[in-house]
Symmetry: C4
Subunit: 262 residues, 4 copies
């Protein structure tokens, strides 16, 4: 097996059927996670000001690493099966969605943006993770979860509609009861809906809460209604997830079957 074929097998999950991550994949996953972590911490100004040069060097290092990986992929993709020539295959790969993300990540990392300029762009590196895990076990679990949710979509529609009615009724009730007493918080139905969402999900920040006896009585009813609101989707999602993991386990390839390269 040539070096190019080995590289191809290492870098392209589609070349293998078992869904295991290769050693090479693991290094790339760690590099992506590390670069995302640096991007997250880099948004904190007090930290970034002190460690400016360290962050810049880290970003530069990640840029070189991702550029190298991109070149290695471009070179080895010529090994993919098919009747076309090497460069045809390479061009076709370059135009694929995930290759464009790869290129985008390299450009974003290397082009000297202002350090704080575009942290959200840097988080798009997580999309690369999605690309890497596309053929792995994690992706199979997500697909199973997705189809379990789709199977229960009517349940979610009904729950969602009931939740919307509860949300709107709660907001209207408090708008009616406290609209004139606390105009900032309940002066319109859209404003009251913020209170309504935060109460029905039982988050309850307390930045907005009723102060009149009538408002408190209505809010108590809404808070109790929140139990029902949480109960129904929770049951659906838990059941869907349970089904999904069942399907996932059944479809799992037997362990270590294709692990040893012949």
């Amino acid at each position: 097996m040539t070096l190019r074929a080995k590289t191809y097998r290492q870098l392209f999950a589609s070349a293998r059927s078992d869904g295991h991550l290769t050693a090479c994949d693991r290094v790339i996953v760690v590099a992506i996670l590390a670069s995302v972590a640096v991007a997250i911490i880099g948004t904190e100004k007090t930290f970034a000001a002190e460690n400016r040069s360290a962050i810049l060097w880290a970003e530069f290092g990640f840029g070189i690493f991702f550029l190298g990986e991109y070149c290695a992929r471009l070179w080895s993709v010529a090994e993919c099966p098919g009747p076309h020539g090497d460069w045809t295959k390479r061009l076709r790969w370059m135009r694929s969605f995930f290759a464009l993300i790869d290129l985008f990540v390299v450009v974003v990392t290397l082009v000297p943006f202002a350090l704080m300029g575009a942290p959200i762009l840097r988080l798009l590196r997580l999309l690369r993770l999605a690309a890497l895990l596309k053929f792995g076990r994690f992706s199979m679990a997500l697909k199973a979860l997705g189809s379990a949710v789709i199977e229960r979509r009517y349940d979610l529609y009904v729950t969602g509609a009931l939740a919307m009615v509860l949300l709107l009724s709660g907001a209207t009730a408090l708008y009616w009861a406290e609209g004139t007493v606390q105009p900032d918080a309940f002066g319109s139905i859209p404003r009251a809906m913020w209170w309504s969402v935060i109460t029905l999900t039982t988050v309850g920040y307390g930045d907005v809460s009723p102060i009149t006896p009538l408002g408190k009585m209505l809010a108590a009813v809404v808070a109790v209604g929140g139990i029902a609101l949480v109960a129904m989707p929770t049951g659906i999602i838990a059941a869907a997830f349970s089904d999904a993991m069942q399907t996932y386990r059944e479809n799992l390839p037997p362990p270590d079957q294709d692990h040893t390269t012949p």
Copy 2:
């Protein structure tokens, strides 16, 4: 088939057995949702002041649309099966509950109320949605949910009674422990019940919370009791909902059976 018969089939869900929404129904549903959305946003004074004329025109447009729909219904209802004359059928329909709602919505929309005068009346348009969906799939799901809840009504009584005892005990305990320290928040049992509801549902606004060590110890017990309070109705509601969706799926007409008009 005459135009009137076609209109009748389009506008009256009871004329069809499959519970699907016709193209016409869908347009009306969208119009109702849009008019409700305009009514909700219109309660926000800062927005309403800037877009006064746009909102008025939109309301006027919805009024004309609903009036047209009402007239079309009045005209085509004569097609409904039965031995009576056209106008007898029309008068009978006009006196039905949902036709009165339709008329009410038209009047509320067109009569020049002060713009901000009666936003809650405008939300009653959602009742029209209920009328429209009465024969649809959504309604079947709700009916199944309703009967599943009724079957479990004793469970809900028992849970409700336990919850009331827990609520009252918590309020009395804090009234006893903090009534003199925080008279505004715990100076009477009804006042303490506001705290009790917000704690037991785990919303926890924080506008009211105990400050003495004894009060905090009692509140900790109540907060832990809230887990049990939430657990029991949640289990009942989730099970009822799960049963309801099962019943609903079994009663669903086979897809696309009556979809094509012969």
Copy 3:
């Protein structure tokens, strides 16, 4: 059947096997609930000051009613089966736990306490409700729930021990991290436990919350741990309740069997 026998059958649930409430029972239940409601509202000083005489008259009325009921019970208890004389039966009944509660309620209501003096004593009327419902369906449901909980007591021990460890670890962690920064809130482990309980139950008042980065990181871990803390007892209680209601339904007497007095 004599009047005394009829009164006995009406007032003593133990004289009947079906567990239904008689018309008489229902009147008494309503009177107890009303008297409790008056006692609750009476603790609110602003309301009590304005309606002083109305509350006093209501309390006096309840006192007369409960006294009359007590006398009727005393008179009719002589009908209970057994070889003893009338007064022996009456004395034995008077010494029973629930008869003492009845007498206590009468005394508490009629003796002219200061109106606000002992509202919590008045809430003990709810114990009378327990006495009344002792043989009813509600009581059967509670007994089933009780035995289902006892069957799962080891589960609750294990959960409780894990919860205590989580609670104590969280409190110790925050005491260590924020004890010197916020001495009022985290200056000792008992103080930090108030925060720990309110966070782990996901109530989250917000009267106490970490402010240092390290404290926030530890608090985030504790908050996530709260999901597990809530999940385990919730599952146990929901399962116990579900089992209890199943047992209850199976033990229920067939409806309307003993409803008609022969």
Copy 4:
């Protein structure tokens, strides 16, 4: 049976097969819990200042008690089966993990630390509890729970990954929407993650909450997402716990089998 053999049977759970706690074990468990309680309360300065001598005496008493227990263990461990001599067995036991904890606890309690100096070290006494309960029923339940969680580790990985994505998306969205309006709360992604965790777990302290309409809309979506975040691990943990208790009950030795010493 010699006194030393009896002491050995009393103090070493591994000498018995049934997992019941002996009378001696129970006394030690109570002493550990009491010493932990004293250590916890002792961190509260207002209490410690007033009861300084009582706490010191209690600590001294616990120190003597734990020292006596350590010596008794050291003396009786010679009874453990094996071909080695008494002191070889004792040295081997002294080097075991749990014996080192025992020694550590004795030293920590007796060496005159400043009273407030090392309360967290004193909490390590709970580890002794772990040592004592190592062979008991509680430990069997924990082992069953542990293996049930391990069996579902992929479910927890998937849930954890989805939760991390939800957490990071929420933090990034609010950083983008409110970063400039509330720089203290949302000025960087790590700061916004504090808000994100507290909202997604539905704790909702309210120390940080969005104030712009856009921020509130995004926060409402995140709060609703929290229902799903809580639903999935809750279902997994509840199912794992339920399985664990089932396994535990099946593996439980028949009651009172080895309770009577022959």
